[in-house]
Symmetry: C2
Subunit: 182 residues, 2 copies
DNA sequence: TTTGGCATGTAATCCGTTACATGATTAG
DNA sequence: CTAATCATGTAACGGATTACATGCCAAA
């Protein structure tokens, strides 16, 4: 048995619920929809599509002649069932790994300027992320105003936005602590 | 060349700066110090120690006869230099992966009760985490009051605390959104 | 005496990324 | 014409976990 606990097939099934797509389309779709908290590579995507087709969860349709060679996949009832079954399982615990915090924890063993630079980077990157996600919220509320999934999409963006703000605030706090002897 | 980008040796070196330890000690130490944002398994730890010894970054001392069989490692100047060099490198970008957000994003395809249960779990787990980290802060401020690293340790705990609170608040918000048609 | 904690280690395996290979089509 | 983009795929590799193997010592 291979790739049992992989979530790649589930992302694929979830997105194919919106509309039929090719592997290439899926990659692009993943980046602009769940991109701020998930990602997939082609090396995962194409094998996953083949396996889902074998299991009858999706059906692939070769593009009609004349077009560029591509295969568009659509979800089946079996696919929808598999997705629904996965969705009710409690999400698997993901062990945290934060390399920046490791460098902060051992901060005394390094030059303070280096640590300060890392914190500055985090602050600016997080502020940029927060702004981007705020813009995305406004855009979606406008463009997808009547999509039934909008509510769920906005919740995930809100998580990202709160997290980005939290990171920026913590970075400012940490820089402050580093600056004086507070 | 093997295990080039692994951060296991760096965690080992960082902790050995505090005091000499065995592999078994290191595992326990990792759990109670950086445990809320990092982890290592024996399968990584022991090979890393052997490699660090080969490279001259640590020196191992077999326990004196009579004691239980164990090998205590101490960091060397070469080890401190390797750690310092790593600490100034900007932390590698870690692609985010959040399975819960995936389940929220596709929430419309599942029974609402299942999603609500996931959010309840997150809320209670996050509240518990926040309380634990608050207690840990108080404990460290008391027990390690004069440790020069205290400042850095508290910063990492503060990150965890803010993050836990953020997660709890978002979960409450999400449950609220799910409850009505806001 | 037997259970549980101390202590070290390895082999199999897994999930996933990276790099590479290939080729068609469209826009400048 | 040629660079970029569309489009699909595979092989090799890499970091890490899991499960297993082994054995000593102390306490109940």
């Amino acid at each position: 048995m291979k790739n049992v606990s992989s979530r790649t097939p589930m992302v694929v099934l979830g997105l194919l619920c919106i509309e039929p797509m090719s592997g290439y389309d899926l990659k692009a779709m993943i980046e602009q929809s769940v991109g701020h908290f998930w990602h997939e590579s082609y090396g995962q995507l194409y094998p996953a599509l083949h396996e889902l087709e074998e299991r009858g969860c999706v059906v692939g349709q070769e593009a009609s002649s004349g077009e560029r060679r591509r295969k568009v996949y659509a979800i089946t009832d079996a696919g929808r069932a598999a997705l629904a079954e996965w969705l009710v399982q409690p999400p698997a615990w993901q062990p945290a790994r934060n390399e920046l915090l490791l460098k902060v924890f051992f901060g005394r063993m390094a030059q303070p300027e280096a640590l300060r630079a890392h914190l500055e980077d985090l602050r600016s990157a997080s502020e940029r992320d927060a702004a981007q996600l705020a813009a995305l919220t406004a855009q979606l509320e406008h463009e997808q105003a009547n999509a039934p999934e909008l509510r769920y999409w906005l919740l995930t963006i809100d998580f990202g936005h709160r997290f980005a703000q939290m990171r920026a605030e913590w970075a400012r706090h940490a820089l402050h602590v580093m600056a004086e002897g507070t």
